[in-house]
Amino acid sequence: MAEKSKMSDSELMLKVAGYDSKALEQLYDRYSPILYTLIKRIVDDKEVAKEVLSDVFVIIWKKIDHFDFKTNNVYTWLITIARNKAIDTLNRSLQKEGIEDYNDKYEEEKILPKLSNSISPLNLEQILNNGEKVKDIINSLTEAQRYVLELSYYEGLNEKAIAKKLKIPLPTVKSKLQLALGILQQKLVFD
């Protein structure tokens, strides 16, 4: 059991690729708290969050061959799937216009992430240990920057929807988002 817990994310993913259910269970144990927290923040409902989380693991199980074993960024891949799936669920529950039927093609195009082939892998443990730091940096943003960032990431609003909601010009939304991300990058990546 101790040996199993030492297995890296990429090793687990390889085992999942071989449909090893034990490996998926370990992946679940490792990632379900952060994925569940993110999903719950987006859908704002415990039961829906549980449903979405189980759907996320079904997607991982079914679409594991879309994971890039060359870059091996398990964290960002899983987080992006969870975020996309939760936003999609939210949009469907709000019955937003123009939502396509959910099928395999849709899932591959809109739910599965397409990460850069130059992306570096991240370590979940380190990320969780640095959570407070990320929180502090987000809190250091101006209220407007933070709000725009949250509307975009957690509510899935596009720039036009944000501009409409906040009654500010479109370029302002763009500049606030770009500035916020620039600050985050400077403080997180270069620190």
Partner: protein, 237 residues
């Protein structure tokens, strides 16, 4: 200037807040620009993924794990049969991707076709009809011109070896167990047979002794009666 614009578009794209037009121009830059900042794209994708780490982490209830397991178990056979159905088509269509399949005995690795998802996502213009659509992070343009590299062979081999070794260890373990069992059984049988032989030996030897004694007694009696008879004969004579 061009680089700055690319970075701005990357930022909007990774946070999932990009207009249809901007996404289209970013996609064309990815395809056309040889110096597209892929590294920066990866950095921003990672950066955005760090946002949830600032939330207070909650663990879902344990029942959910059972629910997920049940869902996956139901899907297991479906995926298996799906893979089997897809197999011949993929083999003829695209010949380089490594696919991992589970056979009844364990995992087998088969070669069959490159992943077309990234290419599709780059070739097709961005689909932005939905006002609030999820993040669409676009994969490298380099990957469009050449097929996606196969899965890390070393890791695959390592996992396969691990699997095979654990499989054989299990097999050897069970064989050793059955050998031990049969050895114990034969030992017990041997002891039982020995005890039986010993029992029979003592029983029959005891019987023989008593019979021998009886014979001796009878012989003695016979001898005495014979002598008595002879003595009587002598006396009469």
């Amino acid at each position: 200037m061009e680089g700055k614009k690319q970075i701005e578009l990357i930022k909007l794209s990774t946070i999932g807040c990009i207009s249809e037009e901007d996404q289209a121009s970013l996609t064309s830059l990815m395809v056309e620009d040889e110096n597209f900042p892929w590294k920066e794209l990866g950095e921003f994708q990672n950066l955005v993924a760090l946002l949830p780490s600032a939330l207070v982490i909650e663990t879902p209830s344990w029942e959910l794990k059972d629910k997920v397991a049940k869902k996956l178990y139901e899907l297991r056979d479906e995926i298996k049969s799906q893979k089997e159905e897809e197999k011949p088509v993929e083999e003829t269509a695209i010949p380089t991707e490594q696919m991992v399949e589970e056979s009844e005995e364990g995992i087998t690795f088969e070669s069959n076709g490159a992943d077309t998802i990234e290419s599709d996502s780059l070739q097709a213009p961005p689909h932005k009809k939905i006002p609030d659509e999820p993040i669409l992070e676009t994969k490298s343009g380099v990957e469009k011109s050449k097929p996606r590299e196969p899965l890390n062979k070393e890791l695959i081999e390592k996992t396969t070896k691990e699997y095979i070794s654990t499989y054989f260890v299990k097999e050897i373990g069970s064989t050793q167990k059955s050998i031990k069992k049969s050895f114990l059984l034969s030992l017990v049988l041997f002891i039982v047979v020995l005890l039986l032989i010993a029992f029979m030996y003592f029983k029959f030897s005891g019987d023989l002794d008593s019979k021998q004694e009886e014979i001796d007694v009878l012989k003695n009696r016979l001898g005495i009666s014979y002598l008595e008879g002879n003595l009587k004969k002598i006396d009469s004579v």
